[in-house]
Amino acid sequence: MTAVTPAPPSTAVRPAPAGPVPPGRPAGRSRLRTLAGFAFGAALLFAVAPLVLSDFRLALLAKYLCVAMVAVGIGIAWGRGGMLTLGQGVFFGLGGYAMAMHLKLADAGPGGMPDFMQLYGQLDELPLWWRPFASPWFALPATVLLPMAVAFGLGSLVFRRRVRGAYFAILSQALAAAMVILLIGQQGTTGGTNGLTDIKGFFGYDLDDPVNQRMVYFIIAGTLLALLALTRQLIHSRYGELLVAVRDGEERVRFLGYDPASVKLVAYVVAAGMAGLAGALFVPAVGIISPALIGIVPSIEFVIGVAVGGRATLLGPVLGAVAVAWARTALSERFPGTWTYLQGLLFVVVVAFLPGGLASLWALARRRDVAAQPQRRGRLSLGRRRAERTEVPAA
């Protein structure tokens, strides 16, 4: 769809010291292209999709776009920061549960209790930790801040002690396992395996009404675009350069006087916040949040879309996540067993043989284009360098 926006050349090859990218011609061109890309994406999401797709398909797309938001975060943490986080489901779940708790309480009315509590918990009154979620002023910020706080807590402990690579991946996965077991175990107050279901209203709007479903879709599409814009700014900032540097040579960055732990922490926390926001918007779009949506398996499934699209690019994770989610629905509708095989193959083939994802094919094709035109040879080296930046290092 749009060009994969390449990162500016690294400071290592520029003679000038690190600083904001000078507003020269290449930067201006790339900014223009990015703006055009955003306009195109916005037109696609806001005008074309609602016109072309049925209400049912549009609701599905809303769900995919939520997954794509998680993918954008993983793209930052994993693609740019080299932290393979296998526990994004936890943050997705925290956001989702915070939103669902508020909507459940709103459905129940003032002083009311969610229906499942009497059923499973035999509770006479609302548990203390549910109470703040009755207020939207608490619940809405909490959908983002709660996951960020958890990520900050874990990240600051873990990164400072230089727990990284595979160790970090396993820890993040264990976090997802612990979270799901906790949710299922506390059935009386969390809904257990069922999760929080049957959410009817969204701030006064009836979610059964297709018009309101459409509104939720627009909110989700707008949020995704905003997150993409934010991410674009982030990865083109000095911080973004530093993050890639930490990914490629953590020790070297440390020797240069930076603190890699803080750099990684920021990326991890931002990714967690995005996952939380995605979870919060997933709830009105789908009407349910449950442990099955946030455990070990869904958490690692968030990652595959990112790998397919191209983990280190801006748009790769989004397109990959939507494509994988769409393929899943399309295939498991028809051949239920086949999807699992295909998903397994996707992991194997993409990660082992195409680590840059589909975006690397795109970069390869562009490189060929450039090489085929002799009069543009002067830009060849830049093109090469840009393509290399989106490739994945041996880590």
Partner: protein, 295 residues
């Protein structure tokens, strides 16, 4: 007192299962820095091997005895295949092996579902292992738990002896300590890797046989165990077995005690928090191999 001992033994038997699984991981993760998520499916393969053997060998005791070596070879062969076909290409990218082997594990799970059906299957335990041993003080210990503990300890002993005394063990230790130096000393590191992978995956097969004594066999039985086992290896420190042995039993006891004092779900969270806290103190795990490599 009785309760305390009961909990202690429950913890030790949880630890024994963890240990059986983690031993294989300690080998593969420790030596090759490879995160093999399909290890859980090798456990499953071992368990289904027991099930298949029981279809033809009717004596439960005999079939179990046959299943142990057969499952070792079946799972080990699967491991070698995985190593040769995929993992060998990914040595420089340990994080990617995690995702690739996850894909393999998905495929193996679905394969098991297609061959054996999604519902769990059950094997018969030999009579010898169904009863309890009564200890003085009104304490009873289930025979099957005792058998698994013995199996785990035997596996640790055999592996330790093999690593210490055999030429193969010497080569494996050399590669773990310094791969490049081992290679220039004339050790065929890729062959050692393959053998290590065979041993590590074979141990998963043994764990699978042991697990048939504890519960039903299903396509996803490996997934839940594998993460705890990885945590054991991470906390124990890679490159040496003693860390994994100590940590497996420690986590088992912590889990059992936590479960007794609170609930299963809270105990899991306690274990997780304890692990993060522990890694603050020793980020490289309990025992680390001191090498001069800069990695």
């Amino acid at each position: 007192m009785t309760v305390l001992f009961g909990q202690l033994f429950t913890g030790i038997s949880i630890g024994a299962v963890l240990l059986l699984i983690a031993l294989g991981l300690a080998l593969t993760f420790g030596q090759m820095n490879v995160i093999n998520m399909a290890h859980g499916e090798f456990i499953m393969a071992g368990a289904y091997t027991t099930y298949v053997l029981q279809q033809s060998i009717t004596g439960a005791g005999l079939s179990l005895a046959v299943a142990l070596p057969v499952a070792f070879v079946v799972a080990g062969t699967m491991g070698v295949l995985l190593e040769v076909l995929l993992i060998r290409r990914l040595y420089a990218r340990p994080l990617d092996t995690l995702l690739v082997t996850w894909g393999v594990s998905l495929i193996l799970q679905q394969l098991a579902r297609d061959i054996f059906g999604s519902p769990n299957v059950q094997t018969r335990a030999p009579e010898l292992l169904t009863g309890n041993v009564a200890l003085p003080g009104g304490l009873t210990i289930a025979n099957n738990r005792l058998f698994i503990l013995a199996l785990a300890l035997a596996a640790v002993a055999a592996l330790t002896l093999a690593l210490r005394l055999t030429p193969l063990g010497r080569r494996i230790r050399a590669v773990v300590q310094n791969r490049d130096l081992a290679a220039v000393s004339g050790i065929a590191t890729s062959r050692v890797d393959r053998t290590t992978f065979f041993l590590g995956s074979g141990l998963a097969g043994l764990a699978g046989v042991a697990l048939t004594l504890l519960g039903p066999i299903g396509p996803t039985m490996g997934t839940n165990l594998i993460i705890d086992a990885f945590l054991v290896v991470v906390v124990g420190g890679i490159g040496q077995l003693k860390g994994s042995v100590i940590v497996a039993f420690a986590l088992g006891v912590l889990q059992a005690t936590g479960e007794y004092l609170t609930t299963l779900s809270v105990a899991k969270v306690i274990v997780f928090v304890a692990i993060v806290a522990f890694l603050q103190w020793r980020p490289q795990g309990l025992f680390t191999l001191r090498t001069r490599s800069l990695a």
